[in-house]
């Protein structure tokens, strides 16, 4: 898996050993999407639709996820907007700008190349803060170790 990050975007590219039609189903069918994303969505994905659902991690069902579907091109492209990091049920995230999540499917030898891009963090308060944090360079090496710890567990 390849990862590219900046303050504004996270990009992931992965090759899956499955046909494009299969990968498309897993992403564009709300029930199948929920299986691996771990959310129980009420309704089907459709362009312009807002779909909500509860996270299905035991103990985290209080978190509601909401996505607004932006574009669907069968077996090729799917995108939605949402509030990343919207985990505090007491906070109204609706005034905050949303990030854009894009799934791009392409044929690859032996399967499907999937690219996931989440962008727009620079416009949300989260990244506005990250800008300020960048000025503070203390403890960066300690943090790198933490990140290594996270990465190596997967």
């Amino acid at each position: 898996m390849e990862t590219t990050t900046s303050t504004d975007r996270i990009e992931k590219t992965v090759t899956l050993t499955a046909p494009r039609a299969r990968v498309w189903q897993a992403i564009a069918d709300a029930r199948q999407f929920g299986e691996w994303f771990r959310v129980r969505l009420d309704g089907e994905f459709a362009v312009g639709a807002t779909i909500r659902g509860h996270i299905t991690y035991p103990g985290y069902e209080y978190i509601t996820m909401e996505v607004v579907v932006e574009r669907m091109e069968p077996e090729r492209f799917f995108s939605y907007r949402w509030h990343p990091y919207a985990i505090d049920p007491k906070v109204d995230y609706s005034p905050e700008p949303m990030t854009l999540v894009e799934f791009t499917l392409e044929d690859a030898p032996g399967g499907t190349r999937l690219t996931i891009v989440e962008s727009g963090f620079d416009r949300v308060p989260l990244a506005r803060r990250a800008e300020a944090f960048r000025m503070n360079s203390d403890g960066w090496s300690e943090q790198m170790q933490n990140i290594e710890g996270y990465v190596s567990r997967t």
């Binding site: 990862t3 990091y85 985990i87 803060r129 300020a132 503070n136």
Partner: protein
């Protein structure tokens, strides 16, 4: 959910007050100034801030409540400085969102390749 992942979610949750505290433009400016200029007095922080000393004090107390700043008395002046540990934790959040995608992609792989 794996233990590592639930720990990551718990950490995200812990950072929520940090983000709430930083969701205000004036507080963000205070944090930025303490980052670049080091510990400062309320008087210095009020200069050019466009808000009253009382307002600055209120914002500093909000930052202190979130564990982002602390005050140390120096003679008659109160000097404020950053608590960097909490900021580091908050900065890690983008990496955690990135990690969450990694976990989700791994589950997607298992889902479509089975």
């Amino acid at each position: 959910m794996s233990r590592a992942r639930s720990a990551a979610v718990a950490k995200l949750h812990d950072s929520a007050p940090v983000f709430a505290a930083l969701g205000d433009e004036t507080r963000l400016q205070i944090v930025a100034r303490l980052c670049t200029e080091g510990p400062l007095s309320i008087t210095r922080l009020s200069e050019g801030a466009g808000v009253t000393r009382q307002a600055i004090t209120k914002h500093l107390n909000a930052l202190a409540d979130a564990g982002l700043a602390k005050n140390a008395r120096s003679g008659r002046e109160q000097i404020w400085k950053l608590e960097t540990r909490r900021l580091e934790m908050a900065r890690r959040c983008l990496d955690q969102i990135s990690d969450q995608w990694d976990s989700a992609i791994n589950r997607l792989r298992a889902f479509v390749e089975r």
